[in-house]
């Protein structure tokens, strides 16, 4: 038998009070309460599951996301729980996946789709740039596309060619797309729920090397937080956070580079230098306020990203901070990014990736003697 589920008319449009209640109910029936070791993969999986419980218009599809649960197991169990109508495998065609999601979003659904790997999303580029990003604009807001395109991205896993690209700049450069990238387990849950709630399309960039990293997280508390945010009309969307406070210089990082920046800050602390780490979280919209407040305070900044530095998100951040904080700067802002080379083979990737030493070298160069 086909899975059947019925519900009231809140399916299309904004997440309603009924949805919030459902989420609260889910929280009340959570397996366990209190903080426990949770992986980013589990947090993302739980976010999708909770969103699907709360709203029957939320659908998950892509390549191998059904019975297999995705090559990274992020959609594990969703087909079993929600049936093949709501979490299903598609033919192997990324443009088809995105294009079909556009039509579904036009017709009352909230698709959450998976691109299996960063570089495998490129066949869908035309759909993303020419339609996902522009539908709201060309219809003067009459047609919104509440859809999430999940992209496992970046390197550090010893992946073969075409499996480790940092493709965020392509999307960030395209007007009409929101671009989120979580760096912590809690943000994995929080930001994916917010992405699914968004009436605008969201490119959800998941740092694949962090999928199996664990934090002590209380999922029930995160559910309750999400429900309370909806109730109160608040959200963490578009906000950067101070991941580690400091006073001497600011490290600005996002996604896979945040743990690296934190490790660099810890190493610097041992040498008596206090570095503040900003986790950008949302590349679009960008939180100038939080980032600039930190740089004005410290007077020095290094931007860290895995992607090639040329014409990158890191370049944009440097430009924005320089325009806004010039008179507070004691030194030019430095970037520590991937080299401008194709993503290297597994045995070479550690030379390419921004590491603690390269970050600390950049910090040392911030004209401390002047």
């Amino acid at each position: 038998m086909s899975p059947t589920m019925t519900t009231s008319s809140e399916a299309n449009g904004n997440v309603s009070a009924a949805t919030a209640q459902a989420a609260a109910k889910a929280a009340a029936t959570a397996e366990q309460t209190g903080p426990q070791a949770v992986t980013l993969a589990k947090a993302l999986n739980t976010a999708m599951s909770d969103a699907m419980h709360a709203d029957p218009s939320v659908l998950v599809f892509g390549e191998d996301v059904g019975m297999l649960g995705g090559v990274f197991r992020i959609t594990d169990g969703l087909t079993k729980t929600f049936g093949k109508a709501r979490c299903f495998d598609t033919p192997l065609a990324e443009s088809g996946i995105v294009g079909m999601a556009v039509g579904m979003a036009m017709n009352g659904m909230r698709p959450v789709i998976e691109m299996q790997f960063d570089a495998f999303a490129y066949p869908a580029f035309e759909q993303i740039v020419s339609h996902v990003a522009k539908m709201h604009n060309r219809t003067k807001g009459a047609v919104k596309l509440p859809m999430v395109i999940r992209v496992p991205y970046a390197g550090g896993i010893g992946g073969v060619e075409h499996h480790c690209d940092s493709s965020e700049a392509y999307y960030a450069h395209t007007a009409g797309l929101k671009v989120f990238t979580p760096a912590t387990v809690a943000d994995g849950y929080r930001m994916l729920r917010e992405a699914i709630d968004s009436d605008d399309p969201v490119m959800f960039m998941e740092p694949k090397k962090l999928y199996w990293s664990k934090d002590q997280v209380d999922l029930a508390a995160l559910r309750a937080e999400h429900a309370a945010n909806i109730e109160g009309g608040t959200s963490s969307e578009g906000r950067a956070v101070v991941a580690r406070p400091g006073t001497d210089a600011t490290l600005i990082a996002y996604g896979p580079s945040v743990p690296t920046a934190l490790a660099a800050a810890a190493a610097a602390a041992e040498e008596g230098r206090s570095l503040e780490v900003i986790d950008v979280r949302s590349i679009v919209p960008f939180d100038d306020e939080t980032v600039c407040a930190s740089v004005r305070k410290t007077g020095r900044a290094v931007v860290i990203a895995e992607a090639h530095g040329f014409a990158s998100v890191a370049s944009e951040i440097v430009a924005r901070v320089q325009e806004r904080c010039f008179h507070h700067l004691a030194a030019p802002i430095r970037r520590v990014t991937g080299f401008d080379v194709p993503y290297p083979a597994p045995k070479l990737e550690h030379y390419y990736l921004p590491g603690v030493d390269r970050i600390l070298d950049a910090v040392d160069d911030l004209q401390w003697e002047d």
Binding site: P3, L59, K84, S130, R138, K140
Partner: protein
């Protein structure tokens, strides 16, 4: 909302394979099986187009004998009713008038560009008339006449070409997708709309339109395959007007016909004379009906001709002969239908005059609507990028407002 669709038509635990004596080997319960049982022919005979294109009324306006309409078992078509024929004729006349009026408005500089469907009006009109109110249409940039025939205001339809915004009508309200300029990307949107409707148990059919050149695009393949695999009620309607700007069909495909591509996806294909309104109404009408009844997607190729250049910016004399164009003048869809309906006694001078008057009213609506100096609001640039403008867009909006205020003050 009920979500109860079955995506996995070939999944044994949801759909046990049906035995089919007509087809060799085991045939899974798929897009075609139901239709095969219905028509008592093989899967191949169902999916392959009929040996000849379907043509009911020939270029001289006379009805072909039934045996010479191209039909064969499983590909049989009934003559549409008189009322439908007359409604179609009225839209044909309006459509031709719209095409010629818009081309004139471009020449007068009142519109940036107009890709005319002059010569393809039969396809345009049948595409609109074959659909019910709850159905969706996904048109291309050349399908303005189809959009108007579907009931959208002519001036709203032409907004895209007038140049004050990228679209002038609300797709959700009219169930007509935006006129798509990238090729075949809209077919996938149609597939998604049909998929969502199916999941909710609605009986929506989607007509997804493209041209012959577009069948070379990857999204054509992906859309047809997705629709077939998910067994969705989509009718893919290819207007083969022989040219993709300057490149003739022979450079796009060497398939026996574009309709033959259907069998590769496990769906039914059919060829129809794209200048024969009667046959188009019959073929598209049946395709929509089959799709609604659950036969899965279908592909219809209409053989027609782009009588004018690609747009006003194109020069068709560089790549085709006048003699070729002249051959198609003789196959004109309007004069053919006029002769046929007059011969049938359905159309007389009084009725023709009334229709011409309606067409003239639409033309004057276009002249007036497109001669207006449209006021554009520069702040609209920022209003519709996201549901709520980002802080960066608010800054940019303020910057532009300031620029304009200073310009105003300097006047």
């Amino acid at each position: 909302m009920t979500i109860s669709a079955d995506h996995t038509a070939q999944d044994p635990d949801t759909n046990p394979p049906a035995s089919n004596a007509a087809a060799p080997g085991p045939v899974p319960e798929d897009a075609a099986s139901g239709a095969v049982r219905k028509f008592g022919i093989t899967v191949e005979d169902y999916m392959l187009p009929a040996r000849h294109q379907i043509q009911m009324v020939g270029p001289d306006g006379t009805l072909n004998p039934h045996t010479e309409q191209g039909s064969q078992p499983g590909h049989e078509y009934a003559l549409p009713g008189d009322e439908e024929l007359m409604a179609a004729y009225e839209q044909l006349v309006i459509g031709r008038r719209v095409n010629d009026q818009n081309s004139a408005l471009v020449r007068q500089g009142r519109m940036a560009v107009y890709p005319s469907s002059h010569g393809q009006e039969a396809c345009q009109v049948a595409a609109a008339l074959c659909l019910s109110e709850g159905d969706w249409m996904f048109p291309t940039y050349r399908d303005s006449v189809a959009i108007m025939a579907r009931g959208i205001d002519p001036v709203q339809t032409m907004t895209l070409f007038r140049g004050d915004w990228h679209g002038g009508y609300n797709p959700a309200e009219h169930k007509v997708g935006i006129q798509c300029t990238p090729l075949t990307t809209q077919l996938l949107h149609g597939v998604g709309v049909a998929h969502a409707a199916k999941l909710r148990g609605e009986d929506t059919v989607v007509l997804a339109m493209c041209g012959d050149g577009a069948t070379s695009e990857g999204d054509f393949h992906e859309a047809l395959n997705f629709a077939a695999v998910f067994h969705l009620p989509v009718v893919f309607f290819v207007q083969n007007n022989q040219y993709a700007i300057s490149v003739p069909l022979a450079h796009q495909s060497v398939a026996p016909s574009l309709a033959h591509k259907a069998v590769g996806y496990g769906m039914a294909g059919e060829r129809v004379d794209g200048n024969d309104t009667v046959a188009l109404l019959a073929v598209l009408g049946r395709a929509v009906r089959l799709a609604r009844e659950g036969s899965g997607p279908l592909l219809v190729e209409a053989h027609t001709y782009r009588m004018q250049a690609h747009t006003n910016a194109d020069d068709a004399t560089r790549y085709r002969q006048d003699s070729e164009v002249a051959e198609w003048v003789a196959k004109d869809p309007l004069s053919r239908m006029k002769t046929y309906l007059t011969g049938r006694g359905l159309l007389d001078g009084r009725r023709a005059a009334a229709i011409a008057e309606k067409a003239e009213a639409v033309a004057s609506q276009l002249r007036e609507g497109l001669s207006e100096d449209v006021l554009v609001d520069p702040q609209d640039l920022f209003k519709y990028v996201f549901s709520t403008p980002t802080p960066q867009l608010k800054e940019q909006s303020a910057m532009l407002a300031d620029e304009l205020a200073r310009e105003e003050a300097a006047k």
